[in-house]
Amino acid sequence: MKRDLIEVVVNDDLRYLPCSGLMSLAEALRDELHLTSVKIGCSEGTCGSCSVILDGEPVLACLTPAVACDGRSVRTVDGPGELEHLQRELREALCEADAVQCGMCIPGIVVLASALIAQGEIRTSEDIPQALVGSICRCSGYTRIVSAIEQVLVSQPSERRSTP
């Protein structure tokens, strides 16, 4: 089976990943780099738990072919970078809200919410449930996750929020 080497900057480090044509970015990150923070809930793009940031955009790693990431930059919840602070705030708010139960969905939600807040896609509390439409949590019933995100949102500098 032919396996190519691709160059990907993962969390600021240049990594060489062997990948066959069918391998997803999620498989490459988990199986080759052991970045198991990229969780697999469905492998078909419907649960959001494998969300990572590819060249600044949140993507579903299970639907992204690894070969399509050659020469690009990937950030997971483990990584440093411009969203690190926001992600830490989100994680702390989720813990403080007792929003984490089994925890499988949480890393993906942290990645997604941090990117959407930074991009201004989540500007008000009302935006949060819509932003989470691709993120499935089977344990919590969502309200604590939503309020934790809301709490981080209101603490952001005002240019990230809509004017009242």
Binding site: K39, C95, D98, R138, Y142
Partner: protein, 790 residues
């Protein structure tokens, strides 16, 4: 300060949020192989040809196993389930061959290279088909199967198990002229647990033993059943459980572990199996689909003089948990209310579909849906006030349950008062213009599946405590919140200094498992006893050290002190160090099991439990809006009054309530599984199986009711399972109230709500449930119940 009632946060949350937690599905080991099973594509047929030689010869394929490698038959009530198909297949998705290979790609190629030919038979897809006298029998050897529990059970043909309740003379009451009779039929679909982590495990053959790291709720069942299925000694299997990415009952049975263990033994290498989402959609041990007939005779003063029921529960191709669950209808569908004469027949029925199993509150969910919808129907047809009817008929102190169990406390009454106080004023709830508004109330009764648990506590010389149990952290938080809080309360130390060890059957004694609302109760009680044991030893050592009688000592805030003289004190660490040096480390042990609750002799037959040990009560109420044009339902306000006995960690309980109600809303409104004529489940993923999303779930308001009797630790009851119990019932009653017509099927999808608006369910009858009650009985009902109280 006390550790009880504290809203302690979870020590595992930060790592989970940061993605640092390693679940079974994340485990990677040196030399690890990837394993999978080849599954049947047909629901019923004879395997006429099976050739695995090509697959076996492929480079990178390390083992290919067929049925001979799995000699034991599995079951909960009946051993009817071969772990790989033997000569015939009985459902779509049934494993036929197990394979291990170097990589996932080679594995897929190997599965594709297996030659299997199945001579397809017409499958028995519905329970109506299965009970037809001319139906093919799924298990022609049913009489030869071992019954695994000490219960006399009537079964036969496609009826895997029958559980009945008979009390008094129902025929006599129904024939009376002073009663009015109300009859209802219900049909409910399956619900997939859909834990975000699928079933997953890694097995290693190590020092002659099989070591399995697995995503399970039941480490000891996995240990014992893996051994039995593989035909090895149970002591040669060790089960370790990393944090579990959700279970909800599906992981309450053995799953992939025997395949991984057999493949590890065959190859000498670690083998990992992880189900894909598609495999979980096809083969998860769903909450079963069921069909119910209920008839009640109501007196002029609004009492229930007699109730009769028939319940058909689809166990799929193998019986699994359903023989146990047939018991539970007596306490849910025939629970909540004082009843005169009673007769109930609940049957687990074999069909050529994927086996069903346990899912949070199991059949209590639809038992409560049917009962509470029937209750509102009684009131609608007989022009009674539902609030008065419930208040008059609910179980009270000294009331008899359907099996003759005597209840204590007036908990339902108290909860009904609490819920009335939570009701919003009309103008407090905003209804979309043109939509119909409705309110639904539902009463529910559930229980704690108590059973055996063991605990050991090491009270360390630094004043911290390590608790060793087979308790698993499935997400509910019991092992990082309530249980450390219980131990801390007894030992007078902070709950942060109590660590609960990951479950390992080599370290901890037997445990039934994490489920059935039993974690905080059973593991908590064993931990409490172990803590009391070690506390006694601590005080003995302190007494020696401080020259004070142990009776005059107490432990608070991490210090042993003289009662009434807090200035004479030593830290727990000082005393534990002293004890360790003098006598050896401080260790305490605890064991716990059910006390058992009596029922009336002769009432119940085929039941694995006769009465509810530690009953739990709950009342839910909600406001909904229904769009009359589309049948779309929106839940506007949702309220829960729940009996918790004692709230050890109130925030954690509220988290369980919010999550349980969300799952219940999925069950009530959107999660639909359909099975086609070939026996194939049609939903293949989250794209067509509609789970609740963030925008679907309202913030649930809850009141935790304390003080009802319980022999759990500090009076606690299970709080995690019951929040889902009443949801479909409350929402169903609210929809019926909104549209002015009954609704009798789950889930209540928009097309069904529209149909209900047209009056469909006023006449809703399931033809195969129209026969007299005795028609459904397997065997001689009088012999099964024997002489009995009237």
């Amino acid at each position: 300060m006390t550790a009880l009632g504290m809203n302690m946060r979870r020590r595992d949350a930060a790592d989970k949020a940061a993605g640092r937690t390693v679940y079974a599905s994340d485990v990677i080991k040196p030399r690890m192989l990837h394993g999978a099973v080849l599954r049947s594509g047909v629901a019923s047929g004879v395997i006429t040809h099976l050739d695995v030689e090509l697959a076996r010869s492929m480079p990178g394929v390390r083992a290919v196993l067929t049925a001979e490698a799995f000699p034991g038959l599995y079951g909960v009530g009946i051993a009817d389930h071969p772990w790989l198909a033997r000569g015939e297949v009985r459902y779509v998705g049934e494993p036929i061959v197990a394979v291990a290979a170097d990589s996932p790609l080679i594995l897929q190629a190997a599965l594709a290279a297996i030659e299997v030919m199945i001579e397809e038979r017409t499958p028995v897809v519905t329970m109506a088909e299965a009970l037809d006298p001319d139906a093919p029998i799924l298990h022609p050897d049913w009489a030869e199967y071992e019954v695994l529990v000490d219960v006399d059970v009537a079964r036969g043909g496609n009826v895997a198990w029958q559980a009945t309740v008979v009390r008094g003379d129902v025929d006599e009451v129904f024939a009376r002229t002073d009663v009015r009779i109300v009859e209802s039929h219900f049909r409910v679909g399956r619900q997939n647990q859909a834990s975000l982590e699928t079933r997953a495990c890694v097995a290693t053959d190590s020092d002659g033993r099989l070591v399995i790291e697995t995503s399970t709720q039941v480490p000891w069942s996995v240990r014992n059943w893996t051994a039995k299925i593989l035909g090895v000694d149970s002591s040669s299997v060790r089960v370790i459980v990393p944090p579990v990415g959700g279970g909800f009952g599906m992981k309450f049975e053995v799953g992939l572990e025997p395949y991984a263990a057999a493949l590890a033994r065959a190859t000498g290498q670690p083998v990992r199996l992880v189900n894909s989402r598609m495999e979980e959609m096809a083969t998860a041990l769903c909450r079963e689909n069921a069909e119910i007939r209920l008839r009640s005779a109501i007196t002029a003063d609004g009492r229930i003089a007699a109730r009769e029921g028939v319940v058909l529960m689809d166990c799929g191709a193998y019986s699994g948990e359903q023989p146990f669950l047939t018991t539970m209808t007596a306490h849910t569908l025939f629970g909540n209310y004082e009843l005169g004469s009673v007769r109930l027949n609940s049957q687990a029925v074999y069909t050529n579909t994927a086996p069903t199993g346990a899912f949070r509150a199991c059949n209590g969910t639809y038992g409560t849906f049917a009962l509470e919808r029937h209750t509102d129907e009684i009131c609608r047809q007989l022009d009674l006030d539902p609030e008065d009817f419930r208040a008059c008929n609910v179980l009270k102190d000294q009331s008899l349950g359907s099996t003759g169990q005597v209840f204590s406390g007036n908990v339902h009454h108290e909860l009904l008062e609490v819920i009335a106080g939570m009701r919003p004023a009309l103008d407090e709830v905003e209804v979309p213009a043109g939509w119909l508004r409705g309110r639904g109330t539902a009463v529910g009764t559930w229980f704690v599946f108590v059973g055996p648990s063991a605990a050991t506590i090491n009270l360390n010389a630094d004043g911290s405590a390590t608790l060793v149990t087979a308790g698993v952290e499935i997400g509910s938080g019991s092992t990082v919140q309530a249980i450390p809080q219980i131990v801390a309360e007894v030992l007078g130390i902070s709950p942060e200094s109590v660590v609960v060890m990951q479950a390992d059957t080599d370290a901890a004694g037997y445990d039934v498992g994490v489920g059935g609302g039993r974690t905080t109760v059973s593991l908590g009680a064993a931990a409490q006893e172990a803590a009391l044991d070690v506390r006694g030893k601590l005080l003995d050592a302190a007494s020696e050290l401080m020259e004070v009688s142990p009776r005059d000592l107490e432990v608070r805030d991490g210090r042993v002190m003289v009662v009434g003289d807090p200035s004479t004190t030593r830290s727990v660490a000082e005393v534990a160090s002293y004890a360790q040096a003098q006598y050896g480390p401080l260790i305490g042990n605890g064991a716990f099991t059910t006390r058992g609750t009596e029922c009336q002799s002769g009432c119940a037959a085929g039941h694995m439990i006769d009465a509810l040990d530690i009953p739990i009560f709950t009342v839910h109420e909600c406001e909904v809006a229904v769009d009359p044009a589309t049948g779309v339902v929106r839940v506007l306000d949702y309220r829960v009054a729940q009996d918790v006995g004692r709230a050890i960690n109130p925030d954690a309980i509220r988290g369980q309530i919010q999550g349980g109600v969300a799952q219940g809303l999925g069950y009530a409104l959107s999660e639909e599984i359909t099975i086609d004529a070939r026996g194939c489940i049609e939903q293949r993923g989250f794209g067509d199986y509609r789970l609740p999303l963030a925008g679907d779930v309202p913030a649930v308001r809850s009141e935790l009711h304390e003080g009802a009797p319980s022999y759990g630790p500090f009076g606690a009851k299970g709080a995690g399972e019951i929040p889902i119990l009443n949801v479909a019932a409350a929402v169903g009653n609210a929809i019926a109230d909104a549209i002015g017509e009954p609704i009798s099927e789950l889930p209540m999808t928009p097309p069904r709500v529209l149909a209900a608006m047209r009056g469909t369910y006023r006449q809703f009858r399931l033809d195969h449930l129209n026969e007299p009650w005795h028609f459904y009985v397997v065997g001689d009902i009088d012999a099964q119940h024997g002489p009995r109280a009237r």
